[in-house]
């Protein structure tokens, strides 16, 4: 056996080297971005990185009010909007100044792309006119009072658009971080101080934690089971920061299902879930019960939605009143994500005393999401991520927005709600949705980030974005060796 021990030791010694002190900040992320061209980016990681590399005309503040970033705007009428670029805007990373022509080129190219998932949002644009170097006029075919809120796509340089530059892999914007390289990891550099920040995909949560402990990663954020978060909280060399979340988790219901069309059944399911117990036992700090897609602090949020309590006896009574034969058998579809499957098994256990036999079907993401879009489900669990505007209620519940024309995946049809949505009466619309339960609101999961003690100026944002990479610093150069 000596030779075996010698072999292993040799392998380790060959590889053994002191841990290198690194100036760059390493961020271990769950999922690498897929495409860094903002005209194509739809996944969360790509959008979060795009926010750092590019700048849009407008963005949203903490309560999701519209905020000028590159430009302020003026509504000439419901069909014409004039945007004036800020004088203090930064040039593109290739040192070319950003002008109104770049804005026009970005949105013109978006309209011409037939395979962009964002193109449909801008189909209403009739023309884009450059009035001068700093001023652009958008003219619409149909009136749209929410048009400025749609202009959140990062602006690209006109000269590179014209040459067919590969923004997907070599992005050039005028944001606070510029692109350096992208092979096994994505490397960015902060413009104002030259700080290098690298983002590396590490899918497995345990491995992300081990990399943080080893010092290979300086920062990790989200997507950890609570027991690993607690484990990290007890590590003296690690600091864990948390904040409230704004991403809304819910149970989707198929409103074309004969049983689920009965409001009493939907109420029964709602009363059969002990959301507070789930939040307390298996979710991270700062998670909270949700009532609507937009959280109460949002300008269109509704703080008056009283949580449904956990009451299995009442749930059973409601089911009996609804004339349902007990136990009520329901199929719940979810993805294969470990935490989602864990939630599903808890829901199954909680619903049992209420007379609901929940059958769990855990499917790979592609199949699961296709089933949801096709209406091939009774119940499903999903989360809305990064929603900023109340138009989501119309997209998710309006009768006209059944897939493939929108996100009304539960195929809910309610003429009264349609009227409220058309009038943009958000308090009344959210109250109606909450009472009618076309979906069952669950929670806003808290956000957290764990980092080395010497990493400062970083805290997670409620929607999980990585905007604080613009401020993050390593306080002093400390060796990562343990």
């Amino acid at each position: 056996m000596k030779w075996l021990i010698t072999l292993l030791c040799t392998l380790c010694l060959v590889a053994c080297k002191p841990t290198v002190e690194h100036a760059e900040i390493n961020f271990a992320i769950t999922q690498a971005p897929l495409n860094l061209d903002p005209r194509y980016a739809t996944d969360a990681a790509s959008e979060r990185v795009s926010r750092l590399i590019y700048q849009p005309l407008v963005d949203f503040d903490a309560i999701s009010k519209l905020l000028p970033i590159l430009a302020s705007w003026q509504a000439i009428n419901d069909k014409e909007y004039r945007f004036t670029l800020n004088k203090s805007r930064a040039p593109f990373h290739n040192q070319v100044p950003l002008t109104a022509a770049d804005v026009k080129a970005t949105y013109d190219s978006l309209l011409q792309l037939k395979d962009s998932p964002h193109a449909a949002e801008f189909a209403n644009i009739e023309s884009i006119k450059v009035e001068d170097e700093n001023t652009i006029l958008f003219q619409l075919e149909q009136a749209d009072t929410h048009f400025p809120a749609k202009l959140i796509i990062g602006i690209l340089p006109k000269n590179l658009i014209e040459t067919g530059h590969d923004f997907s892999h070599h992005p050039v914007g005028n944001g606070p971080l510029k692109f350096v390289s992208w092979q096994n990891k994505l490397t960015l550099q902060r413009i104002n101080d030259g700080q290098i920040i690298s983002l590396q995909e590490v899918k497995d949560p345990t491995v992300r934690v081990l990399k943080l402990l080893r010092g290979e990663a300086d920062l990790i954020q989200g997507d950890l089971p609570p027991e690993l978060v607690k484990y990290l909280q007890n590590k003296p060399e690690i600091s864990v920061k948390s904040s409230i979340g704004a991403n809304f988790s819910y149970l989707g219901l198929n409103m074309q299902d004969a049983t689920l069309q009965n409001l009493k059944v939907r109420l029964a399911i709602t009363h059969a879930i002990d959301r507070q117990a789930i939040i307390d036992k298996v979710m991270v700090k700062n998670s909270r019960i949700a009532g609507a897609i937009l959280p109460p602090e949002h300008w269109a949020g509704n703080a008056n939605l009283k949580p449904y309590d956990y009451n299995p006896a009442l749930a059973k009574k409601l089911l009996t009143e609804a004339g349902v034969k007990l136990p009520l058998k329901l199929v719940y579809k979810t993805s294969t994500d470990a935490q989602r499957v864990r939630f599903a098994t808890i829901l199954q256990a909680q619903m049992q005393p209420a007379g609901i036999a929940l059958e769990i079907r855990s499917l790979d993401w592609g199949t699961f999401f296709e089933d949801v879009k096709q209406g091939n489900f009774q119940l499903f669990g999903l989360t809305w991520v990064g929603i900023k505007t109340p138009e989501i209620y119309a997209k998710a519940f309006s009768t006209n927005n059944v897939p493939p024309n929108g996100f009304n995946r539960g195929r809910y049809a309610d003429a009264e709600l349609d009227k409220l949505l058309a009038n943009e009466d958000w308090p009344a619309a959210t109250a109606r949705i909450y009472a009618q339960l076309p979906y069952i609101p669950l929670w806003y999961e808290g956000q957290f980030a764990a980092m080395q003690k010497n990493i400062i100026n970083y805290a997670p944002k409620p929607d999980g974005n990585w905007d604080n990479l613009t401020t993050i610093i390593r306080s002093v150069t400390i060796s990562n060796a343990h």
Binding site: C16, L34, V207, L210, A481
Partner: protein, 302 residues
Amino acid sequence: MIRRIVSFFIVIFGVLLLTFLLIHLVPGDPVEVMLGESASTADRAQLREDLGLNQPLIQQFGSYIAKLAHGNLGRSIHTKTPIIELIKTRYPATLKLAVLSLLIGLVIGIPLGIYAALKANHWQDFMVTIVSVRFSAMPAFWLGPMLMLVFAVWLGWLPVSGMESRASIILPAITLGFGLSAILTRMTRTSLLEVLNDDFIRTARAKGLSEKTVIARHALRAALLPIITIVGLQMGSLLAGTVITETIFSWDGIGRLLVESIEKRDYPVTQACVLVVALSYVLVNLVTDVLYKFADPRVRFN
């Protein structure tokens, strides 16, 4: 040999056809994947037409084969990267990991197997059996993090995961190699024990050859055939990518690319990965057959 080459092309064509059909049978539509849920029906129809997805299946398959013949694997739906570039970066990573894992498996497995056979039914044989059963019973999703904990976090000798340094390959290779070594130990032991009782071994010993010569020159060579078979099969699996190990160790190999492409319904990438995996299997099988002939001259290609 000509028959082999013909069967090679038949297998590859069969794989291409099956993958193409399966991909069109599973739920999911590339146009939906590209445009999301907000696109209008007209936009979807237009893109479907532009991509040729409204053509009959046989025509789509024909145009796929024609493109393939020109070395055009297409582009990823999500990343827009030419697929040939993805394969060029991912496949060598898998190949490197597979070769090193196989070496570790061979270096540990064959000597342990020989040792166990020579000490058959003694306590040493029993110990080797226990160790090899332990190795084979340790799944990668457990062994990988355990190796990381010990060698990376506690001892600080090796990186936890990633591909930045040359040392990054050691832990994933050991994770795969240990499992492989267990199989090879058992196979070598069994195969050698069978041969050791054969007449030609008795003759070799009767001629007065040393035990080392008998084992190394006569017994081991005769026992090699089943070992080569197992090595060939395992190498095929390794080249198909070892998804769990690649995922745990953030190793950007072909297996991970394949699974991610299936999850994201990135059909052109899935097709290309399956093609590469099938090619690997067929080539490894071919090499295995050639090795049979070297190990045992009685084997003929017929």
